[in-house]
Amino acid sequence: MTAATVMTSHRLVAMANQIANNVPSREGVAEQVAHHMQQFWTPPMRRELQLLAQSEPELFDAAVLDAVALAPV
């Protein structure tokens, strides 16, 4: 993986964590994040996030890890 790929991958994680921090309700955060990614993210972006969730889970907000499990790609 190139440095550029790592950088953009980490941006995906940052975006996902930011969504988790900002979705309107504090109830069902994972579901809201999953829905948001379904609505606005490309399947390759969701796939890449899934891979990162497996390889570097420590970068993730817990709700995003749950969302990744909920969001089909």
Binding site: T2, A4, T5, M7, T8, S9, R11, M15, Q18, I19, N21, N22, P24, S25, R26, H36, Q38, Q39, F40, W41, T42, P43, P44, M45
Partner: protein, 928 residues
């Protein structure tokens, strides 16, 4: 019996129309007519077909009664009152013609002409002069007065680049002064001196260019002689034909009459029948259109193998084939989704529609995005979540009934000047003004206007402040309970109410964070919530934040909670940046939705498009602009078609953008000029200026206006034709006989546009969507009976601070904005004389911050952020609070976006232009 509606609205009826349910019957020269109560005799006479001679009167201005030319006789009254200042009364019988009136009017004209140059044949206004017309109307044949004191040698002020003031031709009718006051609201002009010495004076007897004049052109428009005259008319003569069209600058979308001589524009005159501008204009739309014929225009297609090579001029066929072959090669090697496109808000609905169609149907991907990504994408998201549709709620005229106007993160007098003037008119009538903005914008204190509340909050704290205002509303019993119960979702309201009522959302809790006093927040909330009609207007100071979408929802919540939705005088109103931002979004430019804001995953919607387009379509969202740029750097996104947007200058973190562009195998730029992005392009396809386009723009109030070509395309092709050619070369022909046929397809596929066609627009002038069987005349006010989504949805809006924090290394917050004379990246306005007002971007810095760093006014300074460094000159300003610095982004040399960061709105990725932590230090010179 005649009525007002039967008359041509383009005729100047002398005094403004009156809105009144009561009517009066009067007789004018034996003709009985009925007019609204409060109508002047002058207007009634004009309606009756008996226009009274006039000089100081125009229906754009209140009656003044100074010229004494409009004298009439009224049965049963003594004397000869002025028709302009005399109101119709029931049963009044008026004579507009008599031998006595003829004699009086001729005497008045004789006095005027005795002090006026008799050079009509060589005067620049010959044939377009009301003084000349009136001399003819009253039958003036001789002037009995010999030589005496006069103003015939009075000097000409030619300091303004666009118009001159020839004092020798001035009749001191005050129309220019009143236009500046009543219409524009700048109060830059006055009548200096008394009696014979009376003269028009810009500011305190300054030259026009040096005065407070904002060059809106209202005075030129109002002048009945050649005194205030466009220099173009002086140079080339009066126009011989005219075409109605729409301005291509900001989201107000003013209607103009392009006055032409052959294929040359002589002047652009604001159209008083224009639904958005009602005859007013600003310096950009009125005068700054010369870029369309600037020598920098590229009018031939060009290609180059490598971006280091020189451009090679080629035929259209060669350019299209080259671009198609490159895109197809990329897709063969890297996959279908390795290319995409960006649509432009400077292009027409029809041009935008075919680009997104090409991307979805010919490229076979949903990788299409638009420049609204970097401005109002949070508006679309936030208003759809709460109200159900991605657009503002009101027409501009609605503000005439607002009692409290809350302006958040917007500077309408600079960025939306014609609407700004309308807002100022309402404020001068007494509406309360609340300004929520770090800067003390012009609105905060301008002639006859003082904001009741100015909340100079710290950038990045919008949501905290709106939540605190909502806290005041729910804890001080200011909720419009009946409205909420009838119109809104009860469960979401209950959640929201409980959330904002939390102590952590009180003004006292967030005051220090926001840099405000709790009392100021409480007072502002009470003013808005207790007004009969409270209206919110907002701009990019709301959207371009990491919580831009949250803030839009917070404003929608506040409007619903206070019942300020669904009637005139209220609403939540985005002031759109570019002329067709609304339209570009409507046309399906976002990667997740088709035209009409319908998600690509909706099977029935997708099938409708697939059926008419004759191709299967993808159900998954495509990439947004930042995703494309990241993808390019990662190596999987390789080709981009950019329609009329200069992402290398306008998008944040310039280093990141240019690195992405450099990583692509094919960049196609369709534009007027070789812009910053074109430096990284392989194909340049010449675009068309608005003067060459045939289509429609949709402005910030959802008004669809015709854009009519006043001259043929300089490149020989309309932009939509070029897009269709590329699409065909990519294997998907799009055959439209003309742009009207594109709108017909849009109407067939977009429920909110179902009733729209070029022929309908030509008939009615303009229409606000939704325009369909349910609303054949359009929809000026949204959500009147019910919200588009059914019940209004309250969304809880927790405040989350931005990741962009100030530190010891970067202790100041940079925020950015626009100035009146320039427009966005300046590609258009920098190629006009508007440069004389703003030739460079400056960094505004508070005196205390400047002193701390040893910076004086005009010093070169270096601005450093985590993203980059640039250099600007400093301007010490009291308009911004300590700790905040401000600049514009109109000049590429400034590199403002070199220092803005990748941070963006959580929901839409709209860049966080408004918050960048920086340090400022003295520097020795400018950027290399």
């Amino acid at each position: 019996m005649n009525s007002v509606q039967q008359f041509d609205p383009a005729t100047d009826l002398g005094t403004p129309g009156v809105l009144s349910d009561a009517v009066v019957n009067v007789v004018i020269d034996g003709i009985e007519i009925q007019v609204p109560e409060g109508t002047s005799v002058m207007r009634a006479a004009a309606i009756a077909g008996a226009p009274v001679p006039k000089l100081c009167a125009t229906e754009q201005l209140e009656a003044f009664g100074s010229c004494r030319l409009c004298l009439v006789e009224i049965e049963g009254r003594r004397g000869t009152p002025a028709a302009c200042t005399t109101l119709c009364e029931p049963g009044m019988s008026v004579r507009t013609q008599s031998s006595q009136l003829d004699r009086l009017r001729k005497g008045v004209m004789e006095l005027y002409i005795s002090d006026h140059p008799l050079d009509c044949l060589t005067c620049s206004a010959n044939g377009d002069c009301e003084l000349q017309d009136m001399a003819g109307v009253v039958g003036l044949r001789t002037v009995r007065y010999g030589e005496g004191d006069n103003h015939l040698t009075a000097p000409t002020d030619a300091s303004n680049p666009y118009f001159s003031f020839d004092a020798s031709k001035c009749i001191v009718c005050s129309r220019c002064v009143r236009a500046c006051d009543e219409v524009q609201g700048t109060f830059a002009l006055t009548i200096a001196g008394r009696g014979f010495d009376s003269r028009v004076s810009p500011s305190e007897e300054q030259a026009f260019f040096d005065s407070e004049c904002v060059s809106c052109g209202a005075c030129v428009q109002a002048c009945p002689t050649a005194t205030l005259q466009e220099k173009r008319v002086i140079d080339v003569g009066v126009p011989t034909r005219q075409v109605k069209t729409t301005c291509a600058y900001c989201g107000v979308g003013c209607s103009f009459v392009a006055e032409m001589k052959g294929n040359e524009v002589v002047r652009m005159v604001p159209d008083k029948t224009g639904g958005a501008n009602a005859g007013h204009s600003c310096v950009k739309g009125r005068f700054a259109w010369g870029y369309a014929s600037h020598a920098d225009r590229i009018t031939e297609p060009m290609i180059r193998e490598h971006r280091e090579d020189s451009w090679q001029v080629v035929s259209w066929e060669q350019a299209i084939a080259f671009a198609a072959e490159r895109f197809q090669t990329i897709q063969r090697v890297h996959g279908t989704d390795a290319i995409g496109g960006i649509t432009s808000s400077r292009c027409t609905n029809e041009e935008v529609y075919v680009v997104q169609k090409m991307v979805r149907a010919a490229f076979g991907t949903n990788n299409v995005d638009t420049c609204a990504r970097v401005c109002h994408s949070p508006t679309g998201y936030g208003l759809k979540q709460t109200f159900g549709t991605s657009a503002g709620t009101q027409d501009f005229a609605s503000i005439d009934e607002a009692d409290a106007i809350m302006v958040i993160g917007a500077n309408p007098t600079d960025a939306h000047p014609v609407f700004g003037s309308r807002m100022k008119q309402r404020l001068r009538q007494g509406a309360d003004l609340i300004v929520i903005d770090p800067r003390a914008t012009d609105l905060v204190r301008s002639p006859h206007i003082v904001a009741k509340h100015h909340l100079p909050l710290m950038p990045g704290t919008n949501v905290a402040v709106l939540n605190a205002m909502a806290h005041v509303v729910v804890t001080e019993d200011l909720v419009a309970d009946a409205f909420v119960a009838e119109r809104c979702d009860a469960t979401s309201f209950a959640h929201w109410k409980a959330f904002v009522a939390l102590p952590e959302n009180s003004p006292e809790a967030i005051a220090e964070l926001a840099g405000l006093s709790p009392e100021s927040i409480r007072h502002a909330a009470r003013t808005y919530a207790s007004a009969h009609n409270g209206a919110i207007y907002y701009g990019l100071g709301v959207t371009e934040h990491s919580q831009g979408s949250t803030m839009v929802m917070a404003m929608a919540n506040l409007a619903m909670a206070t019942g300020n939705i669904g009637r005139r005088g209220v609403g939540v109103n985005p002031l759109r940046g570019q002329n067709n931002v609304q339209g570009a979004c409507d046309m399906g430019s976002f990667p997740h939705e088709f035209a009409g804001y319908r998600h690509v995953s909706d099977d029935s919607v997708r099938q409708q498009f697939a059926d008419i387009w004759g191709v299967s379509l993808r159900e998954d969202p495509g990439m947004r602009i930042p995703n494309m740029l990241d993808g390019a750097i990662a190596g999987h996104f390789r080709g981009l078609y950019v329609q009329g947007e200069d992402i290398a200058q306008s998008d944040p973190n310039t280093h990141h953008v240019t690195a992405a562009l450099q990583a692509m195998d094919c960049v196609v730029v369709q534009d007027l000029f070789l812009n910053e992005t074109a430096k990284y392009a392989h194909v340049f396809l010449p675009g068309t200026s608005f003067l060459e386009k045939d289509g429609t723009f949709t402005n910030a109030e959802r008004r669809i206006n015709r854009v009519r070509p006043v001259m043929p395309p300089r490149s020989g092709k309309a932009e939509w034709q070029v897009t269709c050619d590329l699409s065909a070369a990519m294997g998907y022909p799009m055959d439209y006989p003309n742009s009207a046929a594109i709108m017909d397809e849009i109407a067939a596929l977009t429920p909110t546009f179902a009733g729209v066609s070029f022929s309908y627009l030509d008939k009615v002038g303009s229409v606000q969507w939704p325009c369909n069987d349910s609303a054949p005349l359009g929809t000026p006010i949204m959500h009147e009976q019910r919200f588009v989504r059914g019940s209004g949805q309250f969304m809880t809006t927790p405040y989350v601070p931005t990741d962009e924090r100030t530190t010891r290394k970067y202790p100041l917050v940079l925020t950015t904005g626009r100035i009146l004379s320039q427009y966005n990246v300046g590609a258009q306005t920098r190629r006009t004389d508007n440069q004389r007002w703003h030739g460079e971007d400056l960094l505004d810095i508070h005196e205390s911050d400047a002193q701390l760093r040893g910076i004086a006014n005009g010093d070169w300074i270096e601005v450093a952020s985590r993203a980059g460094t640039t250099r600007l000159r400093a301007r010490i300003s009291s308009a911004i609070p300590a700790g905040v610095v401000y600049t514009t982004f109109h000049h590429p040399v400034s590199g403002t976006n070199v220092i803005t960061t990748d941070n963006s709105d959580w929901a839409t990725n709209c860049p966080e232009y408004k918050v960048t932590a920086v340090e400022v230090r003295p520097a020795g010179g400018m950027s290399p």
